[in-house]
């Protein structure tokens, strides 16, 4: 028997807004399978987002959902988690939302190690506004605002998260669909701020400007560049050039912010 997505999809809210060939739908299904596998109840799970294509995800799924302002999803999610720590809080969004306009909220959520799972669908472009370069667009790539090639160097989201103090950091791709739910489920089980970056594809605004002839070609690119961590450990720097390492990249156990704060409250109340 196949997985019953209908249990989690809001009736009447499909079709989604995503273009044909966009990987966001694959990621959404992975997220649903992950939530199902960890057993989070729909009533006690909040899915929060910012603005952008990926941030439209909460509207389709049957949880306590919050579609906020651009880049601010993690900050809204922080308020929910602090006010009601018993809720499972998941934040979703894209690369521009998460590490450009929302970059400050992102690094500080990592630093606090608050128990929120943050899913970033990284398609290297501002898709909703028509394909402007984002902080993860590769140097030299074409975007609507880099007609001569992107002069900016990109962020490595996973490194940024690890550097800022996130205690669980993983990376997958929209091609490796079966891995998405495993990474997300492990992230949700982790007590602390967990970041899951899923490399995604935007054939409409990125692919056609950057010589990807088809959706399949873009998907094959994700397949080709991804190297599992276990394989990467046996490869040389030369062999890893142009590759992206996938899997659970970082994990450590550290005190979690919201529960530490509740301990503080108990301490103060005890006098």
């Amino acid at each position: 028997m196949g997985f019953d997505y209908g249990k989690y999809i809001r009736p009447g809210k499909l079709p989604h807004i995503w273009c044909p060939g966009c990987g966001h739908g694959i990621v959404m299904k992975g997220l649903i399978r992950a939530i199902d596998s960890v057993g989070f109840s729909k009533d006690m799970t909040s899915i929060v987002s910012g603005i952008g294509c990926a941030s439209r995800l909460p509207g389709y799924v049957d949880f306590c959902t919050l579609h906020t302002t651009h880049g601010r999803g993690v900050a809204f999610a922080t308020g929910i988690k602090m006010a009601k720590p018993e809720m499972n809080v998941i934040c979703v969004g894209g690369d521009g939302d998460g590490v450009a306009i929302g970059g400050n909220h992102f690094i500080h959520a990592c630093r606090r190690n608050i128990d929120i799972t943050y899913l970033i669908m990284n398609n290297n472009i501002y898709g909703m506004t028509g394909g402007q370069f984002s902080p993860t667009t590769p140097t030299g790539a074409k975007a609507s605002t880099t007609p001569y090639g992107n002069p900016d160097p990109p962020f490595d989201i996973a490194k940024l998260a690890i550097g800022a103090g996130a205690t669980f950091v993983a990376r997958g791709t929209a091609f490796h669909a079966a891995q998405i739910d495993k990474l997300l489920a492990e992230a949700m089980r982790h007590k602390g701020f967990s970041v899951v970056e899923i490399l995604d594809s935007c054939p409409t605004t990125y692919g056609r400007r950057n010589k990807y002839k088809s959706v399949i070609e873009m998907m094959n690119h994700l397949k080709d560049v991804a190297v599992p961590l276990s394989a990467a450990e046996k490869m040389t720097a030369e062999q890893l050039r142009g590759k992206v390492i996938t899997g659970v990249l970082y994990k450590e156990n550290k005190p979690e912010y919201a529960s530490e704060y509740r301990k503080l409250v108990e301490r103060v109340q005890a006098g």
């Binding site: 809001r10 809210k13 729909k42 009533d43 006690m44 909040s46 929060v48 909460p58 509207g59 049957d62 949880f63 306590c64 959902t65 919050l66 579609h67 906020t68 302002t69 601010r72 900050a75 809204f76 999610a77 922080t78 308020g79 929910i80 602090m82 006010a83 009601k84 018993e86 809720m87 400050n104 909220h105 690094i107 500080h108 704060y261 503080l264 409250v265 103060v268 109340q269």
Partner: protein, 377 residues
């Protein structure tokens, strides 16, 4: 039993007022001259089981407040001019999503960094028009330490009742001055909690107008699952671009406050019954104005004071009525004519209105107002 009395700073009284009102969440960012509100709440909230978080910036603080409020908790932030500007993005979000929350904005000079330690009353227009788009605004401008406590309580009540952000705006003098405060006993002041939905979760719609212009808001994690978005939305909470629905929802959001204006607007009249000259003032300036009115009367000038307590909605009817009773109106304020403009709009040329303005970081004293009264005579 005698009441608890203290000698306390305005900002501290504000924090205690918030606790009294049932506030159990604060998110903020340090900024002069409002920081004492955060400092007191960082100590007091854990005692009552609440949460305090210092966020990475003003925008994040406003976001966290809205997120917390959606779980059913009364939530507060405090800031000043530049921080108030940064919060406007998410204040607009709270307006359109109709999430109750309270913002304390202790007014300092501006624009920009301005004079962080100097008093000002120049954010009153930002309180109404700061965020983009049509939206309602409730803004309270207390004039004493005691009133900063009670108006903070009223701000939470209005916020919960009307599902809207409410701003309390003491000027820096009111925020920082110390005076006597008598703490209300529990139960002495009304404390309003947002109504919970009465329908079963399957039938719940977060903007269900069959319950009137202020539909009940469910809490996240209470068994009600719903969607909240800053996009124009339909009664079910989901985004829509259907013209008729968008128009109706926008109009309702503004109407819910407009039609309650008489219930919300508060003011104080002092020696206005026989007055020829009315001073319209608020905050610390109104204290100087009261003194000036007393002085003027010693010299045979029949002056009186109309003290604005609720700035938004503006006391339009009351000011229009005042204009029909007096020969001249003067608006002393620590800005360059924001209240003058509003008063003139209400007076509609019935009575001459002139202003006394000061934006140099010094308060407007009684002598300056008295001089203004003599000038008009």
């Amino acid at each position: 039993m005698s009441k608890k009395v203290a000698f306390m700073q305005g900002n501290e009284a504000c924090a205690h007022g918030a606790i009294y009102a049932g506030c159990r969440f604060f998110a903020g960012y340090p900024i002069t001259p409002s920081t004492e509100v955060a400092e007191v709440l960082s100590a007091e909230l854990p005692k009552v089981g609440g949460s305090f978080i210092q966020m990475e910036d003003e925008i994040g603080a406003m976001a966290a407040v809205i997120g917390a409020s959606l779980t059913g908790v009364k939530a507060l932030t405090a800031t000043s001019g530049p921080g108030f500007s940064l919060k406007q993005e998410n204040i607009g979000y709270a307006c359109i999503t109709e999430v109750p929350c309270v913002i304390i904005n202790v007014m300092r000079g501006g624009p920009s960094t301005g004079m962080p330690t100097g008093p000002s009353q120049s954010d009153v227009m930002q309180a109404k028009w700061g965020t983009h788009g049509d939206h309602p605004a409730i803004c309270l401008v207390p004039a004493s330490v005691q009133e900063l406590f009670t108006e903070t309580v009223r701000a939470f009540n209005l916020s919960e009742k009307f599902r809207t952000p409410v701003t309390v705006m003491p000027d820096e003098i009111v925020g920082h001055m110390r005076e006597r405060i008598v703490f209300p006993e529990p139960g002495e002041l009304e404390v309003v909690n947002r109504p919970a939905p009465t329908v079963p979760p399957a039938d719940y719609r977060p903007y269900d107008t069959s319950f009137g212009d202020v539909p009940p808001l469910a809490a996240f994690g209470s068994g009600y699952r719903f969607h909240v978005t800053g996009l124009n939305k339909a009664e079910d909470g989901f985004p829509t671009t259907r013209a008729g629905i968008v128009q109706a929802e926008e109009e309702r959001q503004v109407r819910k406050i407009e039609k309650a204006t008489d219930e919300i607007v508060t003011w104080e009249e002092y020696l206005l019954d026989d007055a020829d000259i009315a001073i319209v003032a608020f905050g610390s300036t109104s204290r100087s104005a009261r003194f000036a009115v007393n002085e003027a009367r010693k010299h045979g000038i029949r002056a009186g004071l109309f003290r604005i307590i609720t700035y938004w909605p503006f006391p339009e009817k009351q000011i229009a009525d005042l204009a029909s009773r007096v020969k001249a109106i003067i608006t002393p304020e620590m800005n360059l004519g924001m209240t003058l403009h509003e008063v003139r709009r209400c007076v509609k040329g019935m009575t001459p209105v002139s202003g006394i303005f000061r934006v140099d970081g010094e308060p407007i004293g009684p002598a300056q107002i008295l001089a203004g009264i003599r000038e008009v005579m």
